[in-house]
């Protein structure tokens, strides 16, 4: 049959359940197809985000992660399989995503995101999903997205608790409105030291994926200015209002931070 709105027969079948939705339709599906999303991290959060964005037909997915798959990742990082232990996470991720949807383009960056490469990498993307596991990268992603006016879909997990929101430059607060500076080193144990319930990043990652899709299609009420707190032990969700801080060192009235800094140094407390 002839192509409709530029969809081929397989795409019409693949995306039928989206196209049927009045809020999405063929036009919304086209927006997803044209969208370019960068995932920072192919770990616990990045895994569920990547799975569903690929399945949803996001046309271009970029993934940056320098790590290799380790057996200790497999308790929660569902993108990676046992046979891919030792392989670069970005390669393992690409293999999985292309397996779900050969229609999409997957760009891989097997490197650490730094002040030096971040501008060059994010400029090609419409939206950034932060699935990182350290403060240096989190502040870097926040600042770089603010300077480049890219929405930053935030998520974090710790033991049994997770948080998610979206930071949209000039539309709401940024991460620094919430936490202007990182905690002193050693005060907050890393995921490695503290442990994390394997299914927890699944829940938080899917909130991030949902926000990403809503933002691209332009539907619903976004999480701008709202922080979702999830407690897996209680199985409860809470919502906290996030206000833009007029004194924010990044997006406030008299910003002190006017360009990217050295984030490793900034977060090491020296």
């Amino acid at each position: 049959m002839a192509e409709d709105l530029g969809f081929n027969d397989e795409q019409i079948r693949r995306y039928a359940r989206h196209i049927i939705l009045p809020e999405i339709g063929g036009k919304g599906q086209k927006k997803l197809q044209k969208a370019k999303v960068l995932l920072v991290g192919a770990g616990g959060l990045g895994s569920p985000v990547a799975f569903y964005l690929a399945a949803a037909g996001i046309g271009t997915i970029g993934i940056i992660d320098m790590d290799k798959v380790d057996v200790s990742n497999l308790q929660r990082q569902i993108l990676h399989s046992h046979k891919n232990i030792g392989k670069l996470k970005v390669e393992s991720a690409k293999e999985t995503l292309k397996g779900i949807n050969p229609d999409i383009k997957v760009n891989t960056y097997a490197e650490q995101l730094t002040s030096k490469n971040v501008k060059k990498i994010i400029k090609d993307y419409d939206i950034v999903v932060d699935g990182c596991d350290n403060f240096a990268t989190r502040y870097l992603v926040n600042d770089a997205c603010y300077f480049d006016k890219k929405p930053n879909v935030y998520g974090s997990v710790f033991r049994f608790e997770g948080r998610a929101t979206i930071f949209v430059p000039d539309k709401g607060p940024c991460y620094r409105c919430l936490h202007p500076f990182p905690p002193p080193p050693g005060e907050v144990p890393s995921c490695q030291e503290a442990g994390v319930l394997g299914v927890l990043p699944g829940v938080i990652g899917l909130i991030q994926a949902t926000e990403t899709i809503k933002y691209i299609v332009g539907i619903g009420k976004s999480l701008v200015g709202r922080l979702i707190l999830y407690d897996a032990l209680d199985l409860s969700f809470k919502e906290v209002k996030l206000n833009k801080d007029p004194n924010c060192p990044l997006c406030g009235k008299n910003p002190k931070i006017k360009d990217l800094i050295n984030y490793e140094h900034f977060c090491s407390g020296i």
Binding site: D4, F7, R17, P22, G26, K27
Partner: protein
């Protein structure tokens, strides 16, 4: 008789793809214009008009045109 702006022949297609293809086609025409649909999947004869109505479009005509085929006319809202 309503003037048909766009016609699609989706004979051989089944639900839910009958509606999906009809919906993609109606997205291409302008408000007030009419989409003509020819089909032979009987359940879709009820489903397409109902779904189009749900989306706010006006069902102008549902008619059996021969032993196997139906014609549906939808006016875009």
């Amino acid at each position: 008789m309503a003037k048909i702006s766009k016609s699609i022949n989706i004979k051989g297609e089944v639900c839910p793809f009958t509606f999906v293809r009809s919906k993609l086609a109606i997205e291409k025409i302008k408000s007030g214009e009419v989409l003509g649909i020819i089909l032979n999947h009987e359940p879709a004869v009820e489903n397409i008009p109902r779904s189009m109505d749900n989306e706010g479009h006006e069902v102008l005509e549902v008619k059996k045109i021969n032993n196997s085929d139906w014609k549906i006319l939808i006016k875009k809202r």
